[in-house]
Each structure stands twice: as C-alpha cells, then as structure tokens.
C-alpha cells in the first residue's frame, strides 16, 4: 500500500497530492476493515447460537436461525451504537 500510490491520489509527477482523494481511499479501507470485523464476530456469535451438535450439513432450521441471527445481530449493533453515542453525549454535557 505504501509504494507508488502517489499517482492514485491525483498527483502527477511533482504535482500536489489531494487530501480529499486520499481521505476517500482511507474511508473505503476503514469501511472494508469494519465489515470484515463485523462478519467475523457475527459468524462467531451466530454459530454459537444456532448450531448445536454439528451434523453432516446445515439443516433448514439452522439456516433459518442463521438468517434471523444476522438480522438480530445488526439490530443489536444499532441499539448498542445508539446507547454508546447517548452516553458519550451525556458525559460531554457533564464536563
């Protein structure tokens, strides 16, 4: 990532690099990393909730459970996110 990306960010042989374009790349990278983290943790939690004794394949109920679990995980994510944000604002208001 560190070698030769000057040209990717609007620089042209001695021209200035554009912070805006750099930040676009940074934000994309962060979003990708976050999605990977989310999927890994979601998989872990939903495996624990939905798969009991591992069989020869995922049966119908297990597949349904996984689908619901994913949705609930993201709902829970949003709830936690909101709660944390509220708490941060409350703490800032008290400072």
């Amino acid at each position: 990532m560190e070698g030769g990306f000057g040209s990717d960010f609007g620089g042209s042989g001695g021209g200035k690099l554009d912070p805006g374009l750099i930040m676009e790349q940074v934000k994309v990278q962060i979003a990708v990393a976050n999605a990977q983290e989310l999927l890994q943790r979601m998989t872990d939690k939903c495996f624990r909730k939905c798969i009991g004794k591992p069989g020869g394949s995922l049966d119908n109920s297990e597949q349904k459970c996984i689908a619901m679990c994913m949705d609930r995980y993201m709902d829970a994510w949003n709830t936690v996110s909101r709660a944390y944000n509220s708490r941060l604002q409350r703490e800032r208001a008290n400072m």
Binding site: K45, A76, T79, Y84, N85
Partner: protein
C-alpha cells in the same frame, strides 16, 4: 485499525503535500481515527452484551432485549469508571 497508524506515517513521508494540505489531512485523519475508535468500542460491547442479553434470535429484538443491551453499555462504562477510581485509590495508598 492498524492501517490508521500507517496513514500517520504517510503524512510525514509525503513532501509533495503543501503545508496547509498536510495539516488538513492530519485533521481529517484524526476525525476518522475517532470514528474508528467508536466503532471498535461498539464491537467490544457487542462481544459482551450479545451473550448477556440475546437468547434465541427471533423475528425482532423485543423491548426487554433492547433495554438489556442499552443497560449493558452503561453498566460496562460505569464498571470501567468504578475500577479506574478504586484502582487509583489503591495505588495511592501504596498497596500492590
């Protein structure tokens, strides 16, 4: 989030950036770092609170579960504050 530290190194290496651009970049990067820290904390809360609050995943989160998740975040922060302050007292008393 290791990539964010690399971004800090980039800003130093990029002599092609004007001074004003470099300062703005550092500001923007700092803002993204703050957002990333928030997200990392949410992941951590989920790690703890999902197990405590969610039983079998259903068609929606019921209000008991939602309240549990909210409370979980607040109580974890309260725990952090309690431990921090009591630990400071212990250290001050000269205990190990």
């Amino acid at each position: 989030m290791r990539r964010l530290r690399k971004v800090g190194n980039w800003t130093r290496k990029m002599a092609e950036l004007g001074e004003a651009d470099e300062a703005e970049l550092q500001r923007l990067v700092a803002a993204e770092q703050q957002k990333a820290q928030f997200t990392a904390q949410v992941h951590h809360f989920m790690e703890l609170c999902w197990d405590k609050c969610v039983e079998k995943p259903g068609n929606r989160l019921d209000s008991r579960t939602e309240n549990c998740l909210s409370s979980c975040v607040d109580r974890f922060i309260d725990t952090t504050l309690a431990i921090t302050s009591r630990f400071a007292q212990i250290v001050q008393r000269g205990g190990q």
